[in-house]
Structure formats: C-alpha cells, structure tokens
C-alpha cells in the first residue's frame, strides 16, 4: 500500500488470552490516534480456514454464507453480534476455526463512528476458504 516504506510503522499485538470483547474495547480506545494522523490497519481475514483450502478455487457454501452474513451485520452497524461470533452458527465456526485472523476486523469496526463512510473492496473468496473482503472506513 505504501511501497516507499518511508512512513513510521508499528504493530499492536493480539493477546492470546483476551476475549473478543476486550479486543473490541482496545480498538475503540485507539480512536484518538486517528486525529493524530495515524492510519490504523487491521490485517487478517474474515473467513480463514487453511484446513479446508480448495485447489479448484471453489468457495465453500459456508464461507460464502458467513462472508455474506458478516457483510450484512457490518452494513447494519450490528458489531456486537460480530464480537459474539461464537453465537452465529456453524458457518461462523467453520469460517473462524481459530480467531487470530478474525480479531483484527474487530479493531477496525470498533473505530467506525456514525459519521464515517464505509466501503468494501476485494470482495471475493480465495482458495475456497479465505475471504479477502476488506473495508475502508472514513475515507
């Protein structure tokens, strides 16, 4: 995204032991950095199941289902149900077998204010079980 590699860059780690609610709250508390010129990027995948990769590149039904469900929850602004993804059924559990690729999404959503615009990009499922769906907020 910034090929010149000239912008100071740092990372925030994901604590193994924190619950999704805590990750969401940490995300909310980063809001003040936006006004200091810091671009915050959550980097992961909404659907990420390496055990179910398809070499024919055909998306699994459950991957499409959860990707679509998450898209709608995001559009509705219903982030609480995405924080509580464990209650979203079988498609969610197949899409999020471990949550490290999903949690960065919660940081990004936590930063969306009501006045911020929302755009999706790279809306496709790669190798059967990896959603590339990405979000640009407030641009």
């Amino acid at each position: 995204m910034f090929p010149k590699a000239n912008i100071p860059t740092f990372q925030l780690s994901l604590d193994y032991l924190s619950k999704p609610e805590i990750h969401f709250k940490i995300g909310m508390q980063l809001q003040s950095l936006r006004q200091k010129g810091v671009l915050i990027i959550g980097s992961g995948n909404l659907v990420h199941n390496l055990g179910k990769l398809s070499h024919e590149n055909k998306p699994h039904d459950w991957a499409i289902e959860f990707d679509e469900l998450a898209k709608n929850k995001i559009l509705e602004g219903n982030f609480a149900s995405l924080v509580g993804y464990k209650g979203l059924g079988k498609a969610a559990s197949l899409s999020i077998p471990t949550n490290e690729h999903y949690l960065p999404l919660l940081y990004t959503l936590a930063l969306k204010q009501s006045s911020d615009s929302l755009q999706f990009f790279n809306e496709s499922i790669d190798m059967g079980s990896i959603s590339m769906r990405s979000l640009l907020i407030g641009a």
């Binding site: 780690s13 809001q31 979000l135």
Partner: protein, 144 residues
Amino acid sequence: MDRKSFIKASMLIPFLGMEIKDFEDALGENVLMEKMPVLFVGHGNPMNAIMPNEYSKKWKAIGEQLPTPKAILCVSAHWQTRGTQITAMPKPKTIHDFGGFPKSLFEVEYPAPGISSALAQKTIEAIKEVHVTKDFEWGLDHGC
C-alpha cells in the same frame, strides 16, 4: 518594535519555556488533523505481497487514494502474545513468518522506520482497557 513584529513575536509566547521535545510534539503528533481513515485488509496468501493480481492492484490504488499518514499502526493476525504489546524499536525488521514459499518472497524487505517514543507513549496511554508494554524484538510481519 513596530506593531506587526510585536504581534509576530507574541505568537511565539506559548512556546517559551518548552523543552525542544515538547516543541516538536506541538508541531507534530499533538496537532489535531482531520481524522485518518481506518482499514481492514484481508491479506490472504503471502504471495499477494509480490504477485501483481486483483488484490494487490487494489491495495496499491487505495494507498494512492489515502492521505499520507504520519504513522501506520498495524494490528496483524500474525502477532499473538501473552499480554498486549506495541513494537517500539527505531528500525523494525521485516519478518518472514511463513514457510514453503519461493525465495523471492523471503527476499522482500520493508524497511519502514519505527515510531517516536512520544507516539509509543501516547498509544500506551490511550489504551486504558489493558496494560500495554513496549516490545523491541518483533518487527513487521507478513500481515503488515
């Protein structure tokens, strides 16, 4: 002193007595800017970093469309720790945290500088939910 130069000089009064570091802060990270956008990026296959494909083309286009940030904070799937940490080294190394990919991918370096200690401190203070510590070992992984 004429009126004009008096006004000019008096504009500097708020800065008198400041340490150089504070002065830099006042001009830099403390200045409120228009809110930066926020991104979630589905990164997928590490090869996307070097393959020109539909995903990486879009990343490039977004990078060109965004205002230039003063700093980038990346929350990557690939850095899980016990406790919450931020990287605070001056020159973060590029981490090739994958296996079984072509040599050309292992040769990719992203030599972005690290952040000022003032910004590290501000980030730590902003996060009240948990105690955040500084890390000097990690770097920038393939999620970033």
